[in-house]
């Protein structure tokens, strides 16, 4: 017994298989080890290492040395033979003795070298050949038998099941009935194996299902289709912004139905010689046709806009010829063989219109920027293999990542993981990714649909507490910005919808801009800020285009806030007689349309389209329901505008449905002034004789900005009159500063604001 105990602790060194043992299924080990495992010469054993296995027959080493392991991998799992075992330390626990009965039935799939061999060789002949090859071999369920050394045209035999699944392993004899299932070529087999490693897909279930149906329809119901006398749809155009996973979706679908994927992309096809590009195109289509004779096949044309631009717009003849060739090829594919062409693009408008008709691209599938629930499912998929800490809330993360597409989210996860490694590189093994890693990563990864946007601003987050006073205004802004995000179910219940726009008006320097910053910080919206400088350009029509583009981007990553500061300067009023066709009035018409236009462009569609809020939540958890509510409630862009001359604005802007909520931001009253002063002097060392209340009383008609300036002024006076080493600010300096300053607002001004809309 002791020797057995010793043997079990033995570390086995792996050596490559000897030449004479190739293809014999032998596993060489020491005689002592064999005895301890109770093995006889030639007994079948299963060698397992991390997720892969190999079936062998035990055999004593001819030099009788212990501590070494050599084996032939003729019959092993798919991933086994490609591994090297130099760094794997084997122990006797890895070796399991098996009971292998003689097999009655064996079901296999066959991988042949070429389609030529497959065509030439009849089924029974292949069956006989395979049977001869497997005779007197031990086989294991789902293992791959490598028979390429025999050089017969058959490369691998995939064991599907043995004895109809009643046993796992067995010995093939002359009496075994062999059932050959599918015969596939090596190329198909490789592509299937390769793609099985791909990641899962989140938030695209519906598009996925429709694409899958399209591909499987002619395979599953060929006779029904023939009876109905219809042809199947043959082309799908996938439209969506970059990074939403168009290509990945196609790869995934193709892998799941076991189809062959042939990829065609512009630069590879285009050649320098005249006519070469067309020839390449024809070659690719022919290849697809040949592949389609063996099974379902998909021809993916990625970035089809580069290959097929509008013919009317371009003057180059070669380009037009390529487009024409592509069009004719897509028309002609129905004749022989059936394959589906999938085009992917992010600029559908630049495609030749002839491309987008039934018969070529029958269906157009729009994949938008993921919505909240879609983001959550993407994050769930991405983080499946990541060690997340237990309390991590993916919903919160999904809420924070407005405007992020799949590629952004995967970059975000990667960045977060890198953060975790960076923080503790030594103990990576048990390191878990926490929320603060994601927060860190969020700073580095910007949503890609907002990159290159004119409105993207990097602002310092401001919390509501940093704004003194103005409690009414804060409440109103919170109601219209924060509440729809936080309590969507209540909004839906009462039939409330989010306001389309908010106008903040009031005298200058009263924290209108800061209020908007605080609103953007507190709600995790995408925040786009634009001013006149971003919009105006010397070219005619450019400003309007820029504004429309801004709104398009804002919609793509909704919920979002578009902030238009100093609205009166950007727009002006149509009633203004001086310049009836100025840029300002053009911009106004764009804005009016964007705020309350007829509808959206089809390409901007997002989500699944049929999201109706059904109130009876049965199986879904409360949180999921809340997320759905929120999605329905917050799919629009909110415009927040600030102006100190609301009287100069066009009246059409002010009606409900456009800027429905007007908030007057008044100059601070006594309490507000006190709060502002307290905030401003928070970081200043004040002498105990300073009475902020008294200053607040004296500063009637001072705006928030004035008060801040006053505090600065007092501090500067201290430095000027005492010395650079002064450590406290005395009251007298405030008084002195007050004497030098005048309030920036006049009573008349304030009156005019107050009476403006009453």
């Amino acid at each position: 017994m002791t020797s057995v105990g010793v043997m079990e602790k033995l570390n086995l060194k792996w050596l490559p298989c000897d030449r004479q043992d190739k293809d014999t299924q032998r596993c060489r080990m020491g005689a002592g080890l064999m005895a301890s495992l109770n093995l006889r010469i030639g007994s079948p054993v299963l060698i397992c290492t991390s997720g892969s296995a190999c079936l062998c027959r035990a055999w004593p080493r001819s030099d009788l040395a212990e501590g070494y392991l050599q084996f032939d991998t003729k019959c092993s799992t798919q991933n086994f033979s490609s591994q090297t075992f130099k760094h794997v330390s084997f122990t006797p626990q890895h070796i399991t003795p098996l009971k292998c009965p003689k097999l009655k039935i064996l079901k296999v799939n066959v991988v042949v070298k070429s389609s030529v061999f497959k065509k030439r060789t009849a089924g029974p002949l292949i069956c006989e050949l395979v049977k001869e090859m497997l005779k007197h071999m031990y086989v294991y369920e789902k293992h791959v038998v490598n028979v390429s050394s025999l050089d017969t045209g058959i490369d691998f035999v995939l064991v599907e099941n043995v004895n109809s699944g009643s046993t796992k392993a067995g010995l093939v004899t002359g009496k075994t009935t062999l059932d050959v299932g599918a015969v596939v070529t090596l190329k198909q087999h490789r592509s299937r194996v390769q793609e099985s490693a791909s990641t899962s897909l989140g938030g695209m279930e519906e598009v996925y299902a429709s694409l899958k149906e399209l591909l499987l329809l002619p395979l599953h119901y060929p006779s029904a289709l023939k009876k109905l006398g219809i042809t199947c749809p043959r082309g799908v155009l996938l439209i969506g912004p970059p990074g939403v996973g168009k290509t990945m979706l196609v790869r995934r679908v193709v892998k799941d139905i076991g189809a062959t994927l042939i990829t065609l992309n512009g630069p590879v096809v285009l050649g320098s010689r005249p006519g070469e590009s067309e020839e390449n195109l024809r070659k690719m289509f022919k290849e697809a046709q040949e592949a389609s004779e063996e099974g379902p096949c998909v021809l993916l044309i990625d970035e089809i806009d580069s290959l097929c631009p509008k013919r009317a717009g371009s003057s180059s003849a070669p380009e037009n010829r390529v487009v024409a060739q592509l069009l004719t090829l897509m028309d002609g594919i129905g004749t022989r063989g059936f394959f589906v062409t999938i085009g992917a693009t992010n600029q559908p408008d630049t495609l030749d219109p002839a491309m987008r008709r039934p018969g070529r691209f029958d269906r157009e599938v729009i994949i938008g920027v993921p919505t909240l629930t879609q983001r959550k499912s993407i994050l769930t998929c991405l983080s499946e293999k990541m060690p997340l800490c237990k309390g991590l809330d993916l919903c919160a993360l999904a809420e924070m990542t407005t405007g992020y597409v799949g590629a952004d989210l995967s970059a975000l996860c990667r960045e977060a993981a890198l953060q975790a490694i960076r923080n503790a590189p030594q103990e990576f093994g048990e390191k878990r990714i926490e929320m603060h890693h994601f927060h860190e990563a969020l700073k580095r990864v910007q949503p890609s649909c907002l990159r290159s946007s004119i409105g993207l601003t990097d602002y310092r987050p401001v919390s509501w507490d940093k704004i003194g006073g103005l409690e009414d205004v804060k409440l109103k802004i919170k109601q219209s910005v924060e509440w729809p995000m936080k309590y969507p179910e209540s909004f839906i219940r009462l039939g409330l919808s989010r306001p389309r726009g908010i106008l903040l008006y009031g005298p200058p320097g009263c924290a209108k801009t800061t209020l908007v910053k605080a609103a953007a910080t507190s709600s995790h919206c995408a925040f786009l800020s634009v001013s006149g400088a971003d919009l105006f350009s010397p070219f005619v029509g450019d400003s309007e285009k820029a504004l429309a583009q801004l709104f398009r981007q804002a919609r793509a990553c909704s919920p979002s806030i578009v902030f238009l500061d100093e609205l009166d300067t950007i727009l002006g009023s149509r009633g203004d007689r001086r310049a009836p066709h100025s840029v300002q009035s053009q911009l106004l018409s764009v804005l009016l349309n964007e705020l309350d236009g007829v509808g959206l462009k089809t390409v901007e569609r997002r989500g699944t389209g049929e999201k109706v809020c059904h109130t009876e939540g049965h199986i879904e958890s409360q949180h999921d329901q809340k997320m759905q509510y929120q999605e329905v409630c917050n799919k629009d862009v909110m415009v927040v505008a600030a102006s100190n001359r609301p009287d100069a604005l066009d009246s059409a802007l002010m009606r409900p449905g456009r800027l429905d909520i007007m908030i007057y931001v008044p100059p601070p009253d006594y309490e507000s002034r006190l709060a502002v002063l307290q905030l401003c002097t928070e970081n200043m060392p004040l002498h105990s004789d300073v009475c902020l209340k008294e200053i607040a009383i004296q500063t009637d008609r001072y705006s928030g900005a004035d008060l801040e300036n006053l505090c600065k002024e007092a501090a500067l006076l201290t430095l000027q009159q005492e010395s650079m080493e002064a450590s406290v600010i005395h009251h007298k300096y405030f008084v002195q500063a007050l004497q030098n300053m005048k309030p920036s607002l006049s009573a008349q001004q304030i009156d005019s604001y107050q009476n403006l809309f009453t």
Partner: protein
């Protein structure tokens, strides 16, 4: 008990190896007979190709009616005859293969049935006169798998041949020769040398 079992197994193995030597001779002689047949197959293919290429109407032979078809028929018949002979040879190869397999499996089966009597130490014990039982069984198995493999490949080659694929018929002889594995044959010979003393000692 154990010594008795070893002696019996040794006796059986001795017999097997003697038979293996005979079978090796038989195999090689059949192969030697096959080579000229494949050569003539290649020649016939060449003639068929030449027949396709020549324009009989321009030659003095144009007077003979249906000459091309008749010649083709004749050549194809000849191909059939050669193929039939080759099939015959394959059958004799198959008998050799089956015989060797019978030897190996019988020996192994006997071992498996009596494995309780033969512990591993006994099986791996070797002396100057006799290799160990494990080795003897291994060699027999190697010989078996070598002949099975060779037979499989050769028969596969013949099965793949078609009269309408002339280039394949022409290159059949080369392929046939490429299947020959000098290493494998040498392995058998070497094996027989190794066991020579053991076989003679019985």
């Amino acid at each position: 008990m154990s010594t008795h079992a070893v002696a019996t197994l040794h006796q059986q193995l001795r017999k097997s190896f003697r038979a293996l030597a005979d079978n090796q001779r038989a195999w090689n002689s059949v192969l030697a007979e096959c080579a000229p047949l494949l050569g003539s197959l290649g020649n016939l293919a060449e003639q068929l190709r030449a027949l396709d290429g020549v324009q009989i109407a321009r030659t003095p032979l144009a007077r003979f009616p249906d000459l091309r078809d008749r010649l083709r028929c004749k050549l194809l018949q000849a191909v059939d005859v050669v193929l039939a002979k080759l099939t015959e040879k394959t059958e004799s190869l198959q008998t050799v293969r089956d015989a060797v397999h019978g030897l190996a499996s019988a020996a192994f089966q006997w071992y498996e049935q009596n494995a309780d009597l033969l512990d591993l130490a006994t099986c791996t014990l070797r002396s100057a006169a006799a290799p160990s039982i494990a080795e003897l069984l291994e060699w027999l198995q190697d010989a078996d798998s070598y002949y099975r493999q060779q037979f499989l490949r050769r028969r596969n080659l013949l099965q793949m041949l078609r009269p309408d694929e002339l280039s394949e018929l022409e290159s059949a002889a080369n392929w046939w020769a490429s299947i020959d594995s000098p290493d494998g044959d040498e392995l058998i010979s070497e094996m027989l040398f190794r066991v020579a003393v053991f076989v003679d000692s019985g």
